[in-house]
């Protein structure tokens, strides 16, 4: 699932500074699940924005809507009365924000969240990055633990010298991905695979302007 974190109110307020009627649109899928872009977030953010502007002595009208997904035109059809607003703030992930930008080409669109990563929902309110979308999955080589996403340096051949009691050198609150991999492979009895040198990744698959065509 895509994880996004809320933008600060200051940032949102500054973005819509020139507008008096904005529509805030939430997304009922990933960002709702990670508690940042669903109907509740829309309501809280819209209220906060309204109050902040009131404090400045300038009222703002903030419409609130939430659709099932902003990454599909069909669901974006559910957005009503967009023409009554001067701008749209989207609380969807970057994909949805661009979706709504394409849907309403003449309306300025502002992001209300920072899209951060593809994550696992560990528990209430806690998400961890699990995949970088590298385009060349090697989980079968690494005991089902992704070294690209879960090693801070995306190393492919074992822990760096900074590994520290199972934690990563960038912070003792983060697990060292390579210790996880090693332990998992040990558990699976596949350590002989660990010995093999993994070739550099083909980063051509991770970058560029990617698309996928299954139509043929």
């Amino acid at each position: 699932m895509i994880v996004a974190e809320p933008k600060s109110l200051d940032e949102i307020k500054a973005m819509v500074d020139g507008y008096d009627r904005v529509l805030m649109v939430g997304c009922g899928t990933c960002v709702e699940v990670c508690l940042t872009g669903g109907e509740r977030s829309v309501n809280l953010t819209a209220t906060a924005l309204r109050l902040a502007r009131k404090v400045d002595g300038r009222d703002i009208e903030v419409g609130e809507q939430t659709v099932i997904r902003q990454c599909d035109f069909e669901y974006l059809d559910e957005v009503k009365d967009a023409d009554k607003y001067e701008a749209i703030v989207s609380l969807a992930c970057g994909v949805g924000i661009q979706g709504i930008a394409r849907k309403f080409p003449n309306t300025p669109i502002f992001p209300g969240v920072n899209t951060t990563f593809m994550g696992f929902n560990e528990e209430y309110g806690y998400y961890t990055e699990m995949c970088k979308g590298c385009g060349e999955c090697i989980l079968h080589l690494t005991g089902g633990v992704c070294p690209v996403a879960r090693c801070a340096k995306s190393l492919l051949n074992g822990p760096c010298g900074g590994t520290n009691n199972g934690k990563c050198e960038i912070g003792s609150d983060k697990d060292c991905g390579w210790v996880l991999i090693y332990n998992k492979m040990e558990q699976l009895g596949t350590l002989d695979k660990f010995k093999e040198i993994n070739a550099p990744k083909n980063y051509g698959k991770a970058g560029n302007i990617r698309s996928m065509d299954l139509r043929k």
Binding site: S8, L9, D10, G28, T29, E32, V33, L35, G38, E39, R40, S41, N43, L44, T47, A48, R50, L51, A52, K54, V55, D56, G57, T66, N121, E123, Y124
Partner: protein, 698 residues
């Protein structure tokens, strides 16, 4: 209760709507013969809204003060809290609501909008209940009561030490105040002819109860000193100098027999024994009657059948019993068998028969009312009708002996029958929907529920209480009542899913301390009401705002928030204490300038609620949450604090300032709470008014 709904106009429709709107009721309401909305009135007491609570009781339990004392409370037997540590003391809460409002002015009369008149014969439990319903429905109701006051068996029969007569009078006065005409000292048959009544009124209800005690024609039964239960009880109730012999033997094992035995003790008898056919386990009286009677020194002799009363100088001197080997035969029919070889003799100055009551039909002989071969009114249990088109009957006269609340239930049905008859012109079967009770608490939920020991009502010491007819059982004081009411878990009024909004995100599943939410086969959240405790934690976290909590409805909360546009709005647990009881309003109230929004649990507090209060213009918001060990809900997180902190940060960003929200703990006394509020007020005064207001002024 749904009676506030606008499309509802009769008592019975209101009741049916209440059931249909939410057919799954807590088991207490299901077990209650009148299906009282127990959790509502209990919750109102918990919130300090006593007068409202009393009104909620009265809707179905028309004699709250009386039933708060004598009801055998089957509700408590089914209370789900039994599986935790003990039932909620529902009866005592009801009594409290009535007692605390004892000096309340009675209600305003209901306008008689129906243009039809109903006569009720007999102002007992059934008659009064039907009068309540029909008066509320807008009929012109007159009760004809042969005694000097209404109440029936609970007035004349139930002894004062269980039910003081002024309590009955208080209950009756409330019904009278609805505009019911009560003609006391007016016996039908003696003072007014039944047939005239049937002609003069659009409908008549016969609710004359069972007012004649029966005896057994054993040898010596007509001797001086042989008495009947009801006259003895009447004497005890109304003659301050009532006396009885030194040695009294009561025959019978029902509640009436125990009332007689315990009254005899209070009338001065030194040796009271009670003999009944049934063996100890079969004794029909309530178990607590046996306990209390024994505490008072009454000797209980089970499995004895009366054989002969010995008479000396025309006066009772002793009575002998034969061993009763069984009461009911194989078919379960009353058919006692005796062993004549085993005899028990007891010396006695008085023998009292307390073996049952019959109806006094004298006032109806020779009228158009038909009776069967045994002299009982010909009556249809479904339509509650007699042979006459506009005459109905209800209560024990037709149902036979039972409990007061059962008579009430039957009377509600009778009122429904009459209302429909007078509305439509035809009488039909009264089919009343039965609520479905939610299930028992699952084990994992029981484990997660915080234990809160049951509050018992105080009882006067046995040695003391037998000295007079003073009331034996005490009531709750305000603190006890609020505590006890706070034990109610509001079963079955919890989280409901708004399916189209649910993203199946699992947040509710993860935050619920009781394991109630789950993702159903249709891939949306659903809630197991057997487990849900209505705390509302989930609803305040659900990112899709897809959860509605019955008992903690957002609309209701918002209404309360909107009550203040200045000063401080405080949120907190309904059991929190920023308030002081106000004897005038019969409710607790907050100091001026404080709008206290009560939530089932402070965990129900939504960030949106705080923002709404701020947007309304209040200068500050106080969040009061109990410390975790005081909270009635077990939770790992102090949600109220978490949410208050989140809003503080947001308010900082908004430019209003997070210091306008203050998280406080809970308080042991209202004074402590007021002190904290005072300090907060001072802080707010320094901060100046809510910046939103300043802007508005400009």
């Amino acid at each position: 209760m749904a009676s506030e709904a606008t499309n509802v106009n009769s008592q019975s429709e209101a009741f049916e709507t209440w059931i249909k709107d939410q057919p799954l009721k807590p088991p207490c309401a299901g077990a209650c013969p009148v299906n009282a909305d127990i959790q509502s009135f209990v919750s109102l007491v918990a919130q300090g809204r006593f007068k409202e609570s009393l009104e909620a009781v009265r809707e179905r339990c028309t004699l709250p003060g009386s039933l708060g004392r004598i009801c055998h409370h089957p509700c408590e037997g089914e209370c789900r809290r039994n599986d935790v540590e003990g039932a909620v003391n529902i009866r005592a809460i009801k009594r409290f609501a009535s007692d605390v409002c004892a000096d309340e002015p009675v209600s305003d009369a209901v306008p008689k909008t129906r243009g039809k008149k109903v006569a009720i014969i007999g102002g007992g439990v059934a008659g009064l209940t039907a009068a309540y319903d029909l008066a509320k429905d807008g009929f012109d109701v007159t009760i004809y009561e042969q005694n000097d006051a209404c109440g029936g068996a609970i007035y004349t029969g139930v002894p004062k030490y269980r039910l003081p007569k002024d309590v009955v009078a208080q209950d009756v006065a409330a019904i009278e105040s609805l505009g019911v005409t009560i003609k006391t000292n007016t016996a039908i048959g003696r003072d007014v002819a039944f047939d005239d009544l049937a002609k003069d009124y659009d409908a008549v209800l016969i609710a004359i109860g069972l007012t004649v005690s029966r005896g057994i024609p054993i040898p010596g039964h007509d001797a001086d000193g042989v008495l009947l239960a009801l006259p003895v009880l009447k004497e005890a109730n109304f003659n301050d100098n009532a006396a009885i012999g030194k040695r009294v033997v009561v025959i019978g094992g029902g509640n009436v027999a125990f009332d007689v035995a315990r009254s005899a003790k209070r009338m001065g008898a030194e040796e009271v024994s009670l003999c009944c056919l049934e063996c100890e386990d079969e004794i029909p009286a309530f178990s607590w009657e046996l306990v209390e009677a024994r505490e008072e020194g009454i000797i209980i002799n089970p499995s004895w059948g009366p054989r002969e009363i010995r008479v000396e100088d025309g006066k009772v001197s002793a009575i002998s019993f034969k061993r009763c080997s069984r009461v009911f035969d194989e078919k379960g029919m009353f058919n006692p068998a005796y062993d004549e070889n085993e005899i028990l003799g007891i010396e006695a100055d008085n023998v009292v028969f307390a073996i049952g009551q019959g109806a006094d039909m004298n006032g109806f002989t020779g009228t158009s009312l038909e009776v069967d071969e045994r002299g009982r009114i010909k009556w249809d249990a479904l339509t509650l009708k007699t042979n006459l088109p506009n005459v109905f009957a209800s209560g024990e006269v037709v149902t036979g002996p039972g409990s007061a609340v059962a008579a009430m239930r039957n009377a509600h049905h009778a009122a429904t029958a009459i209302e429909r008859f007078l509305t439509t012109g035809t009488a039909g079967a009264v089919v009343v929907p039965e609520p479905l009770a939610i299930g028992r608490l699952p084990r994992h939920t029981i484990d997660a529920i915080v234990r809160k020991e049951k509050n018992h009502v105080p009882m006067v010491d046995p040695a003391e209480r037998v000295k007079s007819f003073m009331e034996a059982e005490g009531g709750f004081d305000i603190d006890m009542a609020i505590y006890e009411a706070g034990r109610c878990m509001n079963c079955g009024r919890g989280a409901e899913i708004i399916a189209e909004k649910c993203a199946a995100c699992l947040t509710c599943v993860r935050v619920c301390p009781f394991g109630a939410p789950y993702i159903s086969e249709s891939r949306v959240a659903d809630f197991n009401w057997d487990s849900c405790q209505s705390c509302g934690i989930c609803a305040a976290e659900c990112p899709g705002m897809a959860i509605h909590v019955g008992f903690n409805d957002d609309t209701l909360i918002n209404e309360r928030i909107d009550a203040a546009t200045s000063g401080i709005t405080a949120f907190g647990c309904q059991l929190g204490k920023p308030e002081i009881y106000n004897p005038l309003s019969k409710a607790t109230s907050t100091p001026p300038g404080l709008n206290f929004v009560k939530l089932m649990c402070a965990s129900r507090l939504d960030m949106r609620h705080i923002l709404r209060a701020i947007e309304n213009g209040v200068d500050g918001v106080a969040v009061m949450a109990c410390p975790d060990d005081k909270c009635r809900y077990r939770k790992d997180v102090n949600w109220a604090e978490v949410r208050a902190n989140r809003v503080k940060r947001l308010l900082d960003e908004i430019g209003i300032g997070g210091e306008r929200v203050e998280f406080m703990g809970s308080f042991a006394t209202p004074e402590e709470a007021q002190q904290a509020i005072g300090a907060f007020k001072a802080k707010l005064a320094e901060l100046g008014p809510n910046p939103l207001n300043k802007v508005m002024v400009k």
